[in-house]
């Protein structure tokens, strides 16, 4: 049943709360039964609905994700079409909303607006895919290390430490330069390979704390197996910090992808991406700052939106705050 039933049901809920459990009639039990059950997800949603952070970041992200999925909704200009005649570094025409010359043209005579719209896809795919890969892999490593302890922890933690010694950017650079043809997927692989350690550490710490909780002992005492304890009892309790770290890191991966592209080792032309555009724009920064500022602004907004979302989700998921 949907939450908003009749006003009558709402009234009976209030009434029931007032008269107390002892006097509950069967009728009120029924209406309450339809109104009240709410899962963790529903509760989180209720919490999120009241948060302006969530709405601000959510609206931004929806725009960017729609942009990534259906760029042609925003512009019908081909981002690769280069026409230098009268377009070379042409300044933005602010009155032409959603037109090819809205944000001006770059050094190749390509529409900055069209390229920025089409660039969203590469950035968001890389960001989301790296985050998923890193969360699954790092999370698994952290969980095993934290739960089993002993030599498993020793081995996995040392491997994590070794990878921690390699900076994400340096590792990505080294690995990616081995590929002559680089796509979104090779960049994802490169970043995921050197990006999972933070999640692993957060997960390990959280699991170590949680596995000593009384409810884990209780679950064991009542006959739950290792798998059930790990995935049903411990995992939901550690998801909070992991989701926050992952969402914040997502922004970081998008900017690292841009950095790699800027350094010429990430995505390459003809792939359209914000990083590639920022990289290409650097030489003309003084003549035509808009060529750099527009994709850079979009990049920052995306990163910011993910971080804000992470914050809002963290608050909503914390069962102790309810």
């Amino acid at each position: 049943m949907p939450e908003k039933t009749s006003p009558e049901a709402g009234r009976s809920t209030v009434a029931a709360a007032v008269v107390g459990a002892a006097e509950l009639t069967e009728a009120t039990i029924k209406t309450q039964g339809q109104n009240k059950p709410r899962s963790l997800g529903q509760d989180a949603w209720r919490e999120l609905r009241g948060s302006w952070l969530f709405w601000a970041s959510g609206v931004l992200l929806v725009i960017f994700i729609v942009m990534a999925a259906f760029p042609t909704l925003f512009t019908d200009v081909d981002p690769r079409q280069a026409d230098l005649r009268g377009h070379y570094l042409a300044p933005p025409n602010w009155s032409h909303f959603f037109q090819g010359d809205w944000f001006g043209y770059n050094g190749q005579g390509q529409s900055v607006y069209a390229r920025t719209v089409h660039g969203a896809r590469a950035s968001i795919i890389v960001g989301v895919c790296v985050t998923i890969a890193v969360t699954v892999f790092g999370g698994l490593v952290g969980m095993l290390a934290g739960y089993f302890g002993g030599w498993v922890d020793g081995l996995l933690s040392r491997i994590t430490d070794i990878f921690f010694g390699i900076p994400l950017l340096l590792g990505g650079l080294t690995l990616l330069q081995a590929f002559t043809h680089r796509t979104v997927w090779t960049v994802t692989l490169g970043l995921a390979t050197f990006g999972w350690m933070q999640i692993a550490r957060v997960m390990r710490g959280a699991v170590i704390t949680q596995k000593q909780a009384d409810f884990v002992t209780a679950a064991r005492a009542l006959g739950a197996g290792t798998g059930r304890i790990l995935f049903r009892h411990i995992l939901p309790n550690v998801l909070g910090p992991v989701i926050v770290v992952a969402t914040i890191a997502l922004g970081g991966y998008i900017s690292t992808e841009a950095t790699l592209s800027y350094l010429g080792i990430g995505l390459q032309d003809p792939v359209v991406s914000w990083g590639v555009d920022i990289s290409a724009a650097q030489s003309q920064l003084r003549d035509a700052p808009h060529v750099l500022l527009v994709p850079a602004t979009f990049l920052s907004l995306t990163v910011l939106a993910f971080i804000l979302l992470g914050d809002a989700v963290r608050d909503a998921l914390d069962p102790k705050l309810r």
Binding site: E26, H233, N237
Partner: protein, 351 residues
């Protein structure tokens, strides 16, 4: 359907051989290997529980009562814990020789445990209905829906009002007494043969304590379960237990049927415990206290572990460990179920 109707819907007490003990612990030793040395938490504990019987294990913190329970449940952290010797016979089978999977199947379905602090023993992010239903899903493979229906039944049975709409609530939305009822319901779910209650009422206030103990005693009678009640509260024990085992420094120092122990303790430690209960007729006098501290388990005193605190200790007590003597009347008539691990039990009981 109302709460009352459901309560009546319980199975018959199972028929069983009442003479053979359900659970027998024989010469159990548990030690913890720490950086400072070996802490001997349990040093040769023997006790048994039959179906329908309540054994109260009494002792102060650090006496090894909870560790014994954890060893029985198989939830001891090993390492650092270790069981160098002993047997835990459940229906005649030594559980210490079973495989991990065999023991896991016994946990929850045959032997269940009730923990002290219900709030921390329930998972904060899962609804109580899910956690109750999990018992059926793990052990009987029921579907989500069936498990939830059973969970509502269980909540009715432990008299949680309005079970149907509270089934999806989370542990923190319940009061302390209600949470402990949920813990009891979880332990009861699969109608185990034996329940170990580790200080089930310590975290509750006094009025709720009585309710919870009554509920526990009633359900135990109904299902004819064995119950091991671990506690340090002499008051809780008096009403519900059949027999008592008093533990000190990992050993049982005295065993007795419940009334006997209060009337005539046969061990100086038990006497000390009883004397330190405040009494109305001794108003204004100083309350007795057992001198000293419980022993450090890394360095248990030689001889009787209680000797440094015992008012009657002699040189014999400092050298020889007393065995659990059969306690008799002055004329030598045997007192059933009574034992005392004191060299001077005769003087203690008969004055």
């Amino acid at each position: 359907m109302t709460t009352m109707e459901k309560t009546a819907n319980v199975p018959e007490p199972r028929a069983g051989d009442d003479t053979a003990p359900l659970l027998e612990v024989r010469d159990l030793h548990v030690e913890f290997h720490t950086r400072d040395g070996v802490a001997k938490a349990v040093n040769g504990v023997n006790y048994s529980v039959s179906a329908g019987e309540t054994l109260a294990v009494l002792g102060e913190s650090g006496s090894g009562k909870s560790v014994t329970a954890q060893a029985i449940m198989g939830i001891l952290d090993m390492p650092p814990g270790k069981i160098p010797q002993g047997e835990i016979l459940f229906r005649g089978q030594d559980m210490l020789k079973m495989s991990g999977e065999e023991r896991r199947k016994i946990r929850g379905s045959k032997i269940a445990m009730i923990f002290q602090d219900a709030l921390s023993s329930l998972n904060p992010v899962l609804s109580v209905g899910y956690q109750l239903g999990e018992m059926y899903r793990v052990h009987q493979g029921l579907s989500k829906k069936e498990a939830k229906a059973k969970a509502i039944d269980l909540m009715d049975r432990v008299r949680i009002p309005a079970a149907k709409e509270r089934v999806n609530d989370y542990p923190h939305q319940f009061s302390g007494g209600m949470r402990q009822r949920i813990m009891i319901a979880m332990a009861l779910a699969l109608e185990p043969d034996l329940i170990i209650a580790d200080e089930p009422t310590t975290a509750l206030d006094v009025t709720v304590q009585a309710q919870v103990m009554d509920l526990l005693a009633e359900l135990q009678r109904e299902y004819n379960m064995g119950l091991i009640l671990i506690t340090h509260d002499l008051g809780v024990v008096a009403d519900v237990a059949d027999k008592i085992a008093v533990m000190y420094a990992g050993r049982i120092v005295e065993t007795a049927p419940v009334g006997e122990l209060y009337k005539r303790p046969a061990h100086p430690y038990t006497r000390g415990l009883l004397d330190s209960i405040p009494r109305l007729d001794q108003k204004g006098q100083e309350l007795y206290a057992i001198k000293g501290l419980p022993p450090n388990l890394l360095h248990i005193p030689t001889g009787c572990a209680f000797n440094p605190r015992c008012p009657k200790a002699t040189d014999l007590c400092r050298t020889d460990i007393p065995a659990l003597h059969q306690v008799t009347e002055k004329d030598g008539a045997e007192l059933a179920g009574r034992g005392s691990a004191c060299h001077f039990w005769k003087e203690t009981i008969h004055g």
